[in-house]
């Protein structure tokens, strides 16, 4: 059996998870301090890919990255390439749908951190950047880790937007979910079942791995046990 879809899926979802992590955590941090009027609008925009049908996300991405779209024009001008129907397109599609999960859980995790702790750190002379890396992140870590796994699972399972933006090019953009769809379509249900099994194993491993790992971390939380 051709294992390329597994390789493409892992490469895509890991890259997308990395991007969604950086973008989601940054957006969550910025939104937790931002007090402007656009707060609820921005929050809505960040969550939107989660509630929209994947085909709608795919359509919007096509408009954005198309030859005549605003981002597509920039890419064409700078690198004289287009991302549509390339491997990058699978990453973009997966990142966009995974982002809201990362953003939302990270924001929730940041809001759980006792603001007094951050104030205490400030009066101790610790610079804001160190407060973020040495206090906020470790304390919010269980939530951030859960968000990362959710984002990974979502990126791994991405189908609709990927199909619209990246197409189904075997060996290039054909991820496991696309493979399953087209195998069933052409009546090869046995092969499809095998891929289904593979994707279940990967997802389960990620989730139990996370659970095992976080339960061995030092439990955070402000309150004493006695």
């Amino acid at each position: 059996m051709d294992m390329l879809p597994l390789w493409i899926s892992l490469k895509t979802s890991l890259s997308a998870t990395f991007l969604a992590f950086v973008l989601g955590v940054t957006a969550a941090k910025l939104m937790s301090v931002y007090r402007g009027r656009l707060k609820s609008v921005l929050d809505g925009v960040f969550i939107l890919p989660l509630v929209l049908p994947p085909t709608v996300v795919g359509f919007l991405l096509l408009v954005l990255f198309g030859r005549h779209g605003p981002l597509g024009k920039v890419l064409t001008a700078l690198f004289s390439t287009t991302v549509i129907f390339s491997w990058s397109a699978t990453v973009i599609a997966s990142t966009v749908v995974a982002f809201p999960l990362m953003y939302r859980t990270a924001r929730g995790a940041f809001e759980q951190v006792d603001p007094h702790m951050l104030d205490a750190a400030r009066t101790m002379g610790i610079p804001e950047s160190s407060i973020f890396t040495r206090i906020t992140m470790p304390l919010a870590w269980p939530g951030i880790a859960a968000g990362t796994i959710l984002a990974f699972a979502r990126a791994l399972g991405e189908f609709g937007a990927t199909l619209m933006l990246a197409g189904n090019i075997p060996g290039k953009t054909q991820t496991i979910p696309l493979t399953i769809f087209f195998l069933v379509e052409s009546g090869q249900r046995d092969k499809a079942a095998l891929w289904v099994l593979i994707i279940i194993v990967i997802s389960l491993a990620a989730i139990t791995g996370l659970h095992y790992w976080t339960s061995h971390q030092i439990p955070a939380g402000g309150q004493p046990e006695r």
Partner: protein
């Protein structure tokens, strides 16, 4: 190090107007919840921004709205002890203390932490996490963490409110000792008046965002400058008055004429008060301000009873009760002599007049 703050902060529905001057010793900020005491501390530490005003510490300007100076909390050298201690739960005792000591050489850091841990009597607990410590130990870590940075002023926000009664007394003594060996000044916020009195030679009373009294604790407790201060210091016996001649006043709510000390007679005073601890059952020699009274209510405590009494003579339903405490043994003696003859005495030197 002298801390001076003259700040205003405007919020919807609340205005803070505080001016304080804290010299070498401990200044107590006393007030009910929502009176603005915590906000004052936060403004001094740079965690809240005053709308207007100026804050100086020693020779440094921490905040000045006119000159556009607003030092970040990191540069203020102000220690802050939070109500819930705000220890970093993912770091050990040593880690919590070390957090502020970055930039120090490793072996120096180790030495400093060791000294500090010894100072707050936490030897052997360096590697424990906050959740493995008792409330009192957690507070010591919080203190150590703040004091190790040698702040020029230490701000304490209701440090004992999370402790039970027994620990409270113990920690209070420890805090007193630690503050004694610390050569900066400190501002102590509390709503507990006895705590404030025990720890702070000077007090500032806040109500609704305004300073309503300030000065040495004895003055404030024995001679509160206004009715609100009298109430905050725990004085339950307060009456409207009409000033008469010969150092006497007519206490309208108690229905009696009281002698007061001549140097206690501010002109224009409209209230008289006496803390319940100063009212005593009258002896044979008490001739001034000794009055027959009727016991309205008795509340028994383990060692004393609190009596609510009304003065006899001018029967009126509008009169309010006077409260006093007597020791259990004395109360038994009074009952055995018969309550008809019960007299109380309000020593003239203890009666204060206020506005």
């Amino acid at each position: 190090m002298a801390l001076r703050a003259d700040i205003e902060r405007d919020l919807p529905g609340f205005k803070l107007r505080v001016s304080l001057d804290c010299q070498e010793k401990t200044l107590g900020l006393l007030g009910g919840s929502g009176s603005g005491k915590s906000m004052t501390l936060r403004c001094i530490a740079g965690l809240d921004k005053p709308t207007r005003g100026r804050i100086t510490l020693g020779g440094r300007v921490l905040f000045d709205s006119k000159e556009g100076i607003d030092l970040p909390p990191q540069q203020r050298r102000v220690g802050f002890l939070f109500q819930n201690y705000a220890l970093f739960p993912h770091l050990t005792v040593a880690g919590n203390i070390a957090m502020g000591l970055r930039g120090m050489k490793k072996h120096e850091q180790k030495k400093t932490i060791k000294e500090m841990v010894a100072k707050v009597k936490l030897e052997g607990m360096e590697n424990r996490f906050p959740r493995q410590l008792s409330g009192g130990q957690q507070q010591r870590v919080a203190l150590a963490r703040a004091l190790v940075l040698q702040p020029e002023v230490l701000l304490l926000d209701e440090p004992f409110s999370a402790l039970d009664n027994h620990l409270r007394g113990e920690m209070e003594q420890e805090l007193k000792d630690l503050l004694g060996s610390y050569d900066g000044s400190s501002v102590f916020v509390t709503h507990n008046l006895e705590e404030a009195y025990r720890l702070c030679p000077n007090l500032l009373i806040l109500e609704d965002g305004n300073v309503i009294a300030g000065g040495p604790r004895e003055d404030i407790f024995n001679n509160p400058p206004n009715l609100a201060t009298a109430r905050i210091t725990g004085c339950q016996n307060l009456s409207r008055i009409r000033i008469r001649k010969d150092n006497t006043v007519e206490a309208l709510d108690w229905g009696c004429v009281l002698h007061v000390n001549s140097n206690n007679m501010p002109s224009g005073a409209s209230y008289a008060g006496i803390p319940s601890r100063y009212i005593r059952p009258a002896g044979k020699d008490d001739l001034i301000n000794a009055m027959h009274c009727r016991v309205i209510n008795v509340i028994e405590s383990p060692y004393q009873v609190t009596l609510s009494v009304k003065l006899l003579g001018r029967e009126s339903n509008n009169l309010s009760c006077l409260k006093l405490s007597v020791q259990n043994e004395e109360w038994q003696r009074i009952i055995s002599q018969g309550l008809e003859e019960f007299k109380i005495c309000l020593p003239p030197e203890r009666v204060f007049l206020t506005f």
